[in-house]
């Protein structure tokens, strides 16, 4: 009983706000404590691969989870898509030119545009895909700076060093940060579907499954919605 009373969850950085809520609700319901390890999906993948003692891994994509499942490090049966994220355009308060549309990024007063590193962060990949699809990537790519993860991307606009950034909606949804999003962008990049899975080596398998189920339950999905995610 004692063992079941606590689990450790590795969660992608974009989940920082939403999963903190999730944890509270889950503990209230089940009495099981949850500890979170936040990091970029890439870093967390490496940690899980090398036996970090986490019970569940919630990534910012599906690829990482299915990859780990393929290596038999994550329980195949437990893999679930639990949220779908989207990207938004964030102007810097201090920017000379306030962007509203992707096309505004071409403006000569927009000197620096921040996105997350497409190689390591799913949200960065989505941002790049969208800009390519919109046909403006080649015109602005010299103004683009890659941040390590989606968190640091936002820091660049917040400190006014980037004139605009493309970040995960969940990071700005409900905050006083101004941002823009349009339905039409959905066609520009593959949906950012986020998957989770229970770690094979977990000693708290049962509790981990409980948490996974809670995230995909109606209660859990409501919390995700509250933070700006779509339900997959």
């Amino acid at each position: 009983a004692d063992q079941k009373s606590s689990i450790t969850v590795a969660a992608a950085a974009n989940l920082k706000n939403s999963f903190s809520e999730m944890g509270k609700a889950f503990t209230a319901k089940t009495g099981i404590d949850v500890t979170f390890v936040f990091g970029s999906t890439g870093e967390l993948t490496q940690q899980v691969k090398n036996g970090a003692p986490v019970d569940l891994f919630a990534a910012a994509d599906t690829k990482s989870i299915t990859g780990l499942a393929g290596e038999d490090l994550i329980d195949k049966d437990s893999v679930k898509n639990y949220a779908q994220g989207s990207i938004v355009l964030v102007p810097s308060k201090s920017a000379k030119f306030q962007v509203k549309y992707l096309g505004d990024l071409k403006n000569k007063d927009v000197k620096i545009i921040a996105i997350a590193n497409p190689e390591t962060a799913p949200y960065g990949k989505a941002a790049q895909d969208a800009l390519v699809a919109a046909g403006i990537w080649d015109k602005i790519k010299d103004k683009v700076v890659f941040a390590k993860n989606i968190d640091e991307t936002l820091t660049y606009v917040k400190t006014g060093n980037a004139d605009a950034a493309i970040v995960a909606k969940s990071l700005v949804y409900g905050s006083d940060q101004k941002y823009y999003e349009y339905k039409a962008w959905n066609q520009l990049y593959k949906p950012i579907v986020q998957a989770l899975g229970v770690v094979k080596a977990s000693e708290n398998h049962e509790s981990a499954v409980k948490f996974a189920n809670f995230v995909t339950s109606a209660d859990g999905q409501k919390i995700m919605k509250n933070f700006g995610y779509e339900i997959p």
Binding site: T35, V37, Q47, P53
Partner: protein, 220 residues
């Protein structure tokens, strides 16, 4: 002002003190050998000891993770024999701090030992003292200032390590979340106020410790 969580500070102090302790224990003799012994390949060995400084901390952390993780021979041994998993424990943070910081002590120690007049040790030899006791009563005191400079550097670096610790020990509040990680979280989360408070606490702590170490430096 937010209610301050002192656990990261205490953890950081524990981790960096222990790491520095092991660094002194292992790095001092290595520095001595590098300063005194003459053997083939010394120069390469010497530069190998500096490598941890050259690798990006996260990458160093990655290699450590691979080396001590569950999939590694060491990790398997520990898990099967003692049921221990090092990854994501505060002990892992000590290991991370150890590897990032020990080049600093080794180099300082090497320079300090090389500067000693060999006649000092020769005099002690003719007075009949054993090599070991000469090392502790003559060599170490004469190298003291340089050694302490290395200790200060190593301790400071251990206190500030972020990337390596993050990789092998994770970021588990109350368990492996050290001060640098807490500060990083606060900065990135945009809690500038909290971040500044944490940085202030960290800075004051570091200044006090460095001043204390500087005083110890004056011992000889």
């Amino acid at each position: 002002m937010t209610d301050l969580d002192f656990r990261p500070l205490l953890l950081s102090l524990k981790v960096s003190t222990l790491a520095t302790f092991f660094i002194i224990l292992i790095g001092t003799p290595i520095g001595f050998v590098l300063a005194r012994a003459k053997f083939k390949g010394k120069s390469i060995l010497d530069s190998l000891f500096t490598l941890p400084l050259v690798l990006p901390p996260t990458v160093l952390g990655y290699y450590l993770l691979v080396a001590i993780g569950r999939q590694s021979p060491l990790g398997k041994l520990l898990e099967n024999q003692f049921g221990i998993n090092l990854v994501f424990t505060w002990q892992a943070a000590v290991i991370a701090a150890f590897f990032t910081s020990f080049p600093l002590l080794v180099r300082s120690a090497k320079a300090a030992f090389a500067a000693i007049d060999p006649n000092m040790e020769n005099a002690a030899r003719t007075l009949g003292r054993s090599e070991l006791s000469i090392f502790f009563t003559v060599t170490i005191p004469l190298a003291w200032k340089g050694l302490m400079a290395g200790v200060v550097l190593a301790f400071a670096r251990a206190l500030g390590d972020f990337g390596t610790t993050m990789m092998v020990a994770g970021n588990i509040p109350g368990k492996t979340q050290t001060m640098p990680i807490a500060i990083y979280d606060a900065v990135i989360a945009g809690n500038t106020g909290q971040a500044n408070v944490l940085v202030l606490v960290m800075t004051l702590t570091a200044i006090i410790i460095i001043i204390v170490l500087n005083t110890v430096e004056q011992k000889y």
